[in-house]
Symmetry: D4
Subunit: 220 residues, 8 copies
């Protein structure tokens, strides 16, 4: 574990639970909690989530439903909240857990986050109002979470003048299922200004979005 990363790059340490035993992860959570007062665990299995809920009854434990991320902390809210805002849109309800993970990561970096869920292109009317609300709220960047055809990020990037980050998710089946079609469509976007992260990489999307938002903060 790289304790110096946070000071060096402004990024919270996040424990990737995959490929580690539950005992190893819980041990790391204790260490990080002692040091930082807060820690995120990503890609946690059901059994690990239960073990953490059990072991850290006296801490604040936040676990969005359906997600594989959990925040363990000594306080309810992030230590600092700055004047930097991002919006997270999801195409469908199945994309919501990944959106919540983006929120947890970005909030940990002090950024304010608001989620608009289920605004995908199969009903075009659904995206217009959320987009306007997000812009009015003063967001510096928008993360768009989508599986299947991955069309929503292109639509949002076509409307927007702020940077847009596409987060493809492993929703969908058949050819191009598991997020591959969504990733490919986002990379092939007809709307400039869109960048992407890998399938289900909510941590990457959250950190990148927060860094963009914090750039505004730094200068303002």
């Amino acid at each position: 574990l790289d304790y110096r990363r946070q000071s060096r790059t402004g990024t919270p340490e996040i424990i990737l639970a995959e490929h580690k035993s539950d005992a190893q992860v819980i041990d790391l959570v204790h260490k990080m909690l002692d040091r930082n007062g807060t820690v995120l665990v990503s890609r946690a299995s059901r059994s690990l989530l239960d073990a953490i809920a059990n072991d850290f009854r006296e801490s604040v434990v936040e676990h969005p439903e359906g997600s594989s991320m959990v925040r363990v902390a000594t306080t309810d809210r992030p230590a600092r909240v700055v004047q930097a805002r991002i919006a997270v849109f999801t195409a469908g309800t199945s994309d919501l857990p990944r959106a919540q993970e983006v929120r947890l990561v970005a909030e940990e970096m002090g950024v304010q986050v608001q989620i608009w869920a289920d605004v995908g292109v199969a009903g075009l009317h659904r995206i217009i109002n959320p987009f306007r609300q997000a812009i009015d709220w003063g967001v510096s960047t928008i993360v768009v979470v989508a599986g299947m055809d991955g069309a929503l990020p292109s639509v949002v990037a076509g409307l927007s003048s702020v940077p847009v980050i596409g987060l493809p998710v492993s929703v969908g089946y058949g050819f191009g299922g598991g997020g591959e079609a969504a990733l490919m469509a986002m990379l092939q976007t007809c709307a400039p200004g869109l960048t992407v992260v890998n399938i289900d990489n909510s941590v990457g999307a959250g950190i990148a979005a927060a860094r963009i938002a914090l750039q505004s903060e730094v200068r303002s």
Copy 2:
């Protein structure tokens, strides 16, 4: 060449020029013209298009700009025009040649065709009016031609209650370029009612759309 196909399946004979020599194709055009008074050639090279223009000066030769299809006929218009209509939408201007090929094929089957070009999702406002005009015109089906992210067919299928056929085209570069992202996104559509044909398969899209439209005609 299967002279009986037209009577058996209601489909015009179309000469696939690829993998044939120019001389072979021109010979086939002569034969079909004598028999049917009209013939389409698809996937023709530049040199073949020039040869046809030269050899058939006394026939009607229709070749949409940028396309690889040509119609050679003894009369200007298809022999029969029926009360069956289809719309063809294109996401970008680069998709227009494929849309024209769809039109040629469907018109050869007696169907009326109208094209709305460059109505892609990077500017969402562009699709609404064409869609309304198409529905008002009474179309039985809509063919949506798109390369790159292939997002437009999903948007149209989400708006529509008539069948929608997605035609992915080999526009785009990088990962998923050459139409693969567009095909994959259309197969992964979040909007039901969309079926697809292979990349650049304007002949298949045209025949399928015309058959759907003709079903309406047959019953009415």
Copy 3:
């Protein structure tokens, strides 16, 4: 859930169970049943199917054997049955569950459906009679369900003058298994007039076929 979709696009709301918890799905079924009197659930797990059978004892519950779809309704038959017919052919017996799902979806839209199973190309004689029967019955479109080599849709489209929809299924193993060879072969069909949906996408095939059939209905 988009309650307005049905009125906007003539498509029944279908709950995609995958990526949702059993409790979430059952809650949605209750809501839809109250509102519409009928609802379909697709890609349901074994445990969800059992839970639905248990929870909705007083409703009509139709679940074709081997399929992952279930219809829950207050009445035995769809509210309306119109003069629009489609045929569903399957190459093998393993394809039958997907064919039943196509039937459920199309019937929900009021269309009449008949299935001919196990008519694949390994025994060529098997397809001729079902094809004639389907045409005589007056179908507007044919859905052909096939895994493995996916050859049957091309054979049917070569015989037919009505639109044909290919539904590749995840039957088969080794290279191209899981439906990929079937999908690819259908996209590469040598018989025009064939369009396809994604692997195992019985919902998409059913809605598209019903929309085609309903076009005939609308005009007649």
Copy 4:
């Protein structure tokens, strides 16, 4: 060049022209001709074919139109013709050059070959008579040449009790084009008894078919 291969494995030496200079190939042809009185060159470019036609005016030069194979020999016919027969079917006319290459290779091994072209599944009636004629002629094996959807070999293998070899060819475009869909569909065949060679590998198909036929000869 392995001069001993013919005696060791009963296979004629065939010069693969690809990746060799024209001069290198012509030099090899001279050497083989002196030694064996006959030689085949495969995957020859247009320029090499012209050079061979020019350099070997006094030899017998057989080059099927459109193919990339040429036979150079001191006599018109293969030295020996045995009572072993194979049929070659092609799905479309574009597959004919590959079929001719299969014929050249098998004839060089003394086997009798007959080709039935353009009997693909888009018109099912076309395959029945050729199949009966081939069986009546007493073939030991059937080579089926097909591009695009590669459906014909499965149909033939479903009819046949003799071994069938599928030869996929690089005809077709879009997803699965270049012979990939044809190869995959043949590997996924629903009809047992079918084996395959690689895309465009007419040499491999010809030698394998001839070896099968010669097994019958050896025993009879």
Copy 5:
């Protein structure tokens, strides 16, 4: 189930257990056993194998260790044994179950089969003697079973003048694991006379090999 296939194509009916319930398969076994006195089941799960062993205690049940095939019959040996022989080679011991399945299928067709296991190219000396023994035994064809690098079939085809069938198996891990590298290498063979079947397709390899061997029988 196509009861006529055996008489039409000389191929035993083999029940593909995958995608069928255990009850469905056992029902089919009863039916086939009544009619033919013998039946093969392929791709059977552990639970199905146990169920068959239990249900058919009074029949002959042959299940090679590690394989997913089982033969159920009223007699110990195939009804007819003809003068037709094939050899089966395996590269490693993990390939043996697939080789046994090839043997069961070919024996069911009356062909004599001998297996030489673990003769792969990592120890080149291991293949020479088995090859000589097989040729001396008078085989009409050789099936070579190999996973991982799939090199053995090319080596055998280089030595042999009888047809060789490559059967790639899903042994191996990492890039090209699951039999894909083996399949690809066999298709790219530098030794002519080799044809292939799909990964793990022991049924296809057995039937094709038996058909080749039976051709010799027919003529002799």
Copy 6:
């Protein structure tokens, strides 16, 4: 051409030359020049670049060597230059043309750009100083251009607290060549805060980077 895009999304109109004839592009350049005083053309062929150089002798024409982009304008410098800065790093010298294209695009949006070329990971010492210089210069974001193994963006993102955009380029050959390995490695980055665009998509990288930088500007 969408004349309103610039006002709507703050993005300059860039003409994608691919799939358009030279005449079409030049015509568009004239129109845009009249309207905006400046225009970029991307993915221009050699012949188009020559034609533009010839046709617009009286305008300012900037074409970075080796790139496929050209800027045509009535003035030397962008109309506005704001206090927003980005750095562009390249792994090798072959990546420089794409870096210049990023610069042209971002400068057109008023952003200041500095390029550090050939700082790839094969010589680790090369990246340290440029990174420090870029940070000292006050950049809001860093675009890292890399082909082959695509390792540099991960190294830079590991050092940086500003957002980093990876631009994979089609440099490299063999497996994963053409930019695919670079793209995949960037998506799999072990360093959070990195987002990517498609292979060779310098336009997308330039616009995204400029939008990020302009966010800082807007707030400051």
Copy 7:
């Protein structure tokens, strides 16, 4: 099992447990132990590891945590230790089990091995000291174990004048996950002198590295 391999190629026999039953493997371990006094088992399942621990209580059993390899021996240390040294670096902690397997294999061949873990490129400073220590220790070759972006081997090969072997591991998710991006990036390395083995192939990496080191030994 090829008992002669060790004498012929200097490589210890390693039992690949995958595709074998636990009983088969344990039987082989007994045989090898009797003959050689030491044996390695690779790709062992959890149940097999437990069975071995249980069955060989009186032997030395070494099983690195998280790995799927186990060494069973009658003595604690390899029979011979020679003056040949290799270093093993890992990018992350998840790569450590594979590194331990490399160590076990190379030590079995008498080579001295030292591991430096978690020195990946996301923190560039971490690699410098381990690299210097390894060179000072006098290593003949370096094995670099990395998943995800696979960037570390290129960085090490750029620093090093000794041969470097890249071992990609199946760590990572999404596009290019499972080690594919790491493999591809290593094959596309911008730093010459790097060779690779397949994903997770710690046995191959260990043997190759030991052979290189032993070459030095042989000559010295």
Copy 8:
């Protein structure tokens, strides 16, 4: 150009001509020649090779036939020749140019190289003698160059106790053509001790082999 690489890593600077203009490359050759007295250019086009032959008439220019590499030097032989030897085997004659490139690179590093060409597995007897001769000559490592099925490296690694490097080449057509099957088969090798480089990467293979050989030298 990294002038320090040679002293830092013992590797000669090699100019990768691809993606550079002829003028750029020739300029670099002049610079390197002045500094080092010798330089290699890789992946040179025909026109560049001609230009170099013309421009450097007074230097030693070595260009193996068919290869894309050229050595320009002021002296005939490498400055130093050490007691370190490698063998290069090729499967076919088409692989020879890549073998010559390996030789040029390794010789530039002072290593002695001998090539045995056309010893592929289709004629197994061909490899035995060259292998013995190479071992007798005292090689430290063997590079095996193979396209198509890539089987030879596995055979050689099975015979050898010295490290073996597989160099897959882009020879072959159809599925897995262009070197992909060869690469995959080498990665899946059943013979331990084999490492690989990317397709056609003769530079990488040469440097890695020379480094291994030089390790022996250093110690002796």
